[in-house]
């Protein structure tokens, strides 16, 4: 059975290779092949899951050694997969949601002439993401880590003819690279410390290392997570990444890839548990990002960017939970899974709306769409309810658990985190209600597109709606399923461990507070956007609004602090290289030439001058010979 594990990766990888190399012959069938392979991978995942369920909790984790990858003395990197409860959870999420989104894309990309390539990239993404979650060591994880980055780059920039898309793709990759630097350094630190970077041995030995070293490793891993999961301060790429086709945003930039940071931290729990300072850093990053993303989400008029802000914020929750240690790991993953359902569903919904509205993304140009796109409205609405934490839906359970865990951290820290989380919940409800209202309610504010075509909103084809419906089911029921009998917690416990915190508030109090916050936020949004007409052109807005529209000036900051000095430095060095270093070399050559030109003048052409130089030379020769004797 374990030998099936490599097939999980191989199936989509083969799909990618086939589609990329196959050429135009596969234009007509390629997308179905890709979808089938994604589904195959999902089926394999299910089979492995069933197999795993058949074993005791202690024997569920298995390792499949493929081959020795980089054998160098004292250095060992293998291509080996580890399938345990944590990774199978991801496998199912990735392949499951992935298959649905493949299916959705069949319809969504039907008219794109480069559809085959799109599906190849999607398959490539699946393969890389599976490597990421299945790797049994950090270096192989790194392969998946950058592999998904590559897929993300290719897919964000899929419409390369748009300069904005190309720029966004490059930005995503480069910012991620900063995070990857963290991962590299973390691996190097582990190697120096433990002589290995495979999960099992490192975690087993982590206790021997000093806390300082572990903190350093933890911080570097956090840097990596910040990059991949768009956490402050490396969050700036996610908003721009919405330039990619919407299925991409759903799969990569909502459900799966961006959550890799959470996976990394949870997976490295053994290290973080021993490095409290690193954990503190993690929760701070998580808390800051959850508010940051939420604020940004409130101000965006672009539906996808609003959702992107939301994603950032939700991942902030997960990171915060992961930073809480054993009390939060399982809930981080649980929220990750439920978020995968509802956020993917909402992105697909957004895609469906755009599909019907001539690719319009500005919510101020929507309005009243609920009657035109009933399925989209229903599925999006369910996702909406899930994310704001409407009682009984999946987001309610998972988010609630995180808020509880935050309070359970204890002390002032617990209070601060808990309140942040509650505030976040309120803002979440606000901006999601805003999205919902602007899109589906109110009057029509439709505008003709650039070519003057009036939009004719209509429901999307089956291939698109079916995945949305499936995801909506997940949004509704997943949370309840997971929470029932703490099944999810127990499932993950062998991997992540679990600890009960010491909460100053009872569970019910927290739930109540969260619900109140949610209602308050939603009500405020309804008040602002539901009861008043929405201007088609965005009002100037307050300072905060304007800042939030500009992603809280993150790009301005990066531009001022990194990009501009960076290009200035590059320009200076280019100048220095040609004028300074090369100038030195050319100057030396010119100097020798100059000396030569001067020295030539002693060759006057007059015999007597020559005779004089000989005579002088003789005198010097005689004198120096005599001098040598006297010395």
């Amino acid at each position: 059975m374990n030998s099936l594990i490599p097939l999980l990766v191989a199936a989509p990888l083969a799909g990618a290779a086939l589609l990329l190399l196959g050429g135009r012959a596969l234009d007509r069938l390629g997308h179905w092949i890709a979808t089938a392979l994604a589904a195959l991978s999902f089926a394999l995942g299910l089979a492995l899951f069933a197999d795993m369920l058949g074993r005791d909790a202690e024997h569920r984790a298995v390792t499949e050694q493929l081959y020795s990858w980089i054998p160098v003395d004292g250095f060992r990197a293998d291509v080996a997969f580890q399938l345990d409860q944590l990774s199978i959870t991801f496998v199912l999420l990735i392949t499951g949601v992935g298959t649905l989104i493949h299916l959705y894309s069949v319809g969504y990309m039907a008219h794109d002439e480069r559809r085959r390539r799109f599906f190849a990239y999607l398959n490539l993404f699946l393969a890389a993401m599976l490597v990421l979650v299945l790797a049994d060591n950090y270096l192989l994880l790194y392969v998946g880590w950058e592999g998904v980055g590559l897929a993300s780059f290719l897919l964000i920039g899929f419409w390369q003819h748009k300069p904005s898309a190309a720029t966004a793709a490059k930005k995503a990759f480069v910012v991620n690279r900063v995070g990857d630097m963290g991962l590299s350094i973390a691996i190097m630190l582990m190697f120096v410390e433990f002589g290995s970077f495979a999960f099992q041995p490192v975690f087993a030995t982590a206790g021997d290392a000093s806390e300082g070293k572990l903190t350093a490793i933890g911080l570097m891993l956090l840097l990596a997570a910040c990059g991949k999961s768009a956490q402050v301060p490396l969050q700036s790429w996610l908003g721009d990444a919405m330039e990619g086709p919407t299925p991409v945003s759903a799969l990569i930039h909502a459900a799966t890839m961006v959550t890799a940071g959470v996976y990394l931290i949870v997976r490295s729990g053994a290290i973080f548990n021993l490095a409290p300072d690193a954990q503190t850093a993690v929760v701070v990053v998580g808390a800051v990002t959850l508010l940051f993303g939420a604020v940004v989400g409130c101000a965006k008029d672009d539906i996808k960017k609003a959702l992107a802000g939301s994603t950032m914020s939700q991942i902030g929750y997960m990171i915060m939970a992961a930073g809480l240690g054993p009390i939060g790991y399982a809930f981080a993953i649980m929220h990750l899974v439920t978020h995968g359902f509802f956020k993917a569903g909402m992105f697909l919904g957004a895609g469906s709306v755009m599909h019907g509205m001539n690719d319009e993304v500005n919510m101020r140009h929507y309005g009243g769409l609920r009657t035109y796109m009933p399925v989209t409205f229903a599925t999006f609405g369910l996702g909406y309810l899930a994310i704001i934490g409407f009682p009984g839906l999946s987001g309610f359970f998972s988010k609630d658990k995180i808020i509880e865990a935050a309070f359970a951290k204890g002390g002032t820290e617990g209070w601060i985190l808990g309140l942040c989380a509650l505030l976040g919940a309120a803002i979440t409800a606000f901006y999601m209600t805003r999205v919902m209202v602007l899109t589906f309610f109110g009057e029509k504010r439709w505008q003709p597109d650039a070519d003057g075509n009036e939009p004719h909103p209509h429901e999307s084809p089956k291939s698109m709606t079916v995945p949305m419906v499936v995801l909506a089911f997940g949004s509704v029921f997943a949370g309840g399923l997971f929470i029932y009998g703490n099944s999810f917690l127990h499932w993950l416990e062998p991997v992540t461990g679990h600890a009960e915190g010491d909460s100053p508030l009872s569970a019910w109090t927290v739930t109540g507070l969260a619900t109140v916050c949610m209602l308050a936020g939603a009500a405020l949004a309804w008040q602002m956007y539901g009861r008043n007409p929405v201007p088609v052109k965005a009002p100037v807005g307050s300072l905060l609004t304007r800042a939030a529209r500009r992603d809280l000036l993150q790009d301005d900051f990066n531009h001022a602090v990194l990009v501009r000095p960076g290009s200035a430095l590059a320009a200076t060095l280019v100048w220095f290289d040609s004028r300074g270093l090369d100038g030195l070399v050319n100057g030396l050559a010119a100097a020798i030439g100059g000396i030569s030109g001067r020295l030539r003048r002693i060759q006057t052409g007059y015999v007597r001058t020559y005779a004089l130089s000989m005579f002088g030379g003789t005198l010097v020769l005689v004198a120096s010979t005599l001098l040598m004797r006297s010395v």
Binding site: T604, G605, F615
Partner: protein, 99 residues
């Protein structure tokens, strides 16, 4: 007489000859100055020959005279031909090649 005096004379003649080469312009005169230097050497050779009591120096002096004669032949040929071309015996006029 102290043989050193002959040597001093030889050195003086040699220096005069060398100075002449450096100072005079006429090729013939210049060449005569070189001859003077050769003769200064001859004087020194003969003196040393006498001091050492062997004939080597004197023999060389004879050779020098022959060589000087040969030099004159060659030298005059060259100088005369260039004089006929340029109508000048000044060495400073032969200045086509330089730098």
């Amino acid at each position: 007489m102290n043989p050193a005096n002959y040597l001093y004379l030889a050195a003086l003649l040699f220096t005069i000859g060398a100075s002449g080469v450096l100072l005079r312009r006429n090729a013939i005169v210049l060449f005569m100055c070189v001859e003077l230097m050769l003769n200064a050497s001859n004087l020194a050779l003969v003196t040393f020959s006498r001091m050492h009591g062997n004939l080597d120096g004197q023999i060389l002096a004879f050779f020098t005279m022959v060589v000087a004669a040969a030099e004159v032949v060659v030298g005059l040929a060259i100088i005369v031909s260039i004089f006929r071309t340029r109508h000048s015996a000044s060495v400073d006029d032969s200045n086509l090649m330089k730098l």
